[in-house]
């Protein structure tokens, strides 16, 4: 019975969250949901394989894993397959999105949703001001 939090690279999909920020997000989520954290797992930067988590799961038999966001899940299909195979029985929690579940269907749907957000267009707010955003709305709103 081990509940673990996982920190990863600072670049998390559309977000940029330092690891101490990730810990704050996950600890707050755990507190709000009455989860007691027993293990903190640092994944290496520039990797979203969650390989350390899977390696530790073999020994520690993790029951719950908390991540900051769905965008920390693997993107490559072989890595997704490994995660689905090795961690099917683990309950995953995603603090920013406030969702949780377990099993291949839940994880596959969550990975699919993360991909939809990554594929969605975005406006770079650092290159806009309020009036230019208003112009965008007027010109392009369906």
């Amino acid at each position: 019975m081990t509940t673990a939090t996982v920190t990863t690279d600072i670049n998390i999909g559309p977000f940029r969250i330092p690891s101490n920020g990730q810990n704050m997000i996950m600890n707050n989520y755990a507190q709000r949901n009455n989860l007691v954290i027993e293990l903190v797992i640092p994944e290496p930067l520039m990797s979203n394989a969650l390989a350390t988590v899977q390696w530790l799961h073999e020994e520690r038999k993790l029951t719950k894993v908390i991540l900051s966001s769905i965008h920390q899940l693997p993107v490559n299909q072989d890595r997704i397959d490994n995660l689905l195979k090795n961690m099917e029985d683990v309950e995953f929690h995603f603090a920013l999105e406030g969702i949780s579940g377990r099993g291949k269907v839940f994880l596959s749907e969550t990975i699919k949703e993360a991909k939809m957000f990554i594929e969605a267009q975005t406006i770079d707010s650092t290159k806009k001001n309020w009036l230019s955003l208003y112009e965008i709305m007027i010109k392009n709103k369906k």
């Binding site: 559309p14 999105e97 939809m116 309020w130 208003y134 007027i138």
Partner: protein, 233 residues
């Protein structure tokens, strides 16, 4: 004027009638069921009466508890599917956790100061739907500022390097909230200034709000932390 045109080229906001009242009533009943006001009867006015005497901390705790009302956003969207499809199509990004807003009557209670929804980082392609779960008493609703005037204020403040600065924040006095009945909602674009004022009543005001946009339009700063993908049937 057609609602889409009103939202883009007219006032920027419009009063609408909820299309599916069955879902809307279920939404209100689900709220009553979930809200933890043990000394209130299970009807909206009894709950509102208990809330009207609650402290700010108690109201805040209720609002945090209601984050667990995780199908609220879908219920809101499904109560107005035709309108929403006409604005954004069937593939949507919708607010992951819609908001239930509880306002307590009387002076000294928290009020929502004038603001544009865009300030939170939603996309310019976002629409906001807001509806009370009961008939509104006088002045207990939200006031909306015509988008032409809202835009002039943006221009004025932007020229001074500000957004939502003192000009906007000092607009609260002399505003007149829009009256609404149960079964009506307001939909508005993210450039429309709005807020509320102090009101007097024996009852708290309870309303929901949710934000949505087309999946095929760009996001701004809000992402999976705030939105989720949703497809209308």
């Amino acid at each position: 004027m057609e609602i889409k045109k009103e939202l883009m080229h007219g006032k920027g906001y419009a009063v609408i009638s909820i299309e599916n009242m069955d879902i809307f009533k279920k939404l209100r009943d689900a709220f009553i069921e979930k809200i933890n006001t043990s000394n209130a009867k299970k009807d909206i006015d009894s709950v509102r009466k208990v809330m009207a005497k609650m402290s700010k901390a108690e109201i805040n705790k209720l609002m945090v508890d209601l984050l667990k009302f995780n199908n609220l956003s879908e219920m809101i969207i499904n109560s107005c599917p035709t309108l929403i499809e006409s604005l954004c199509g069937k593939q949507l990004f919708i607010q992951r956790r819609a908001t239930i807003i509880m306002n307590v009557p009387g002076e000294g209670q928290p009020k929502q100061w004038p603001h544009y929804e865009l300030m939170s980082g939603v996309s310019p392609f976002t629409y906001i739907i807001w509806a009370p779960l009961h008939d509104l008493e006088e002045n207990s609703g939200v006031y909306y500022v015509h988008q032409k005037e809202s835009l002039e204020l943006i221009k004025k403040e932007q020229a001074g390097g500000l957004v939502n600065g003192p000009t906007v924040l000092n607009m609260m006095p002399n505003q007149k909230p829009t009256p609404l009945k149960f079964g009506q909602a307001i939909i508005f674009n993210p450039f429309v200034l709005h807020g509320n004022i102090t009101f007097n009543s024996k009852f708290a005001r309870v309303a929901y709000s949710s934000r949505f946009q087309s999946y095929n339009k760009p996001l701004l700063q809000k992402n999976s932390d705030y939105l989720k993908y949703y497809q209308l049937n």
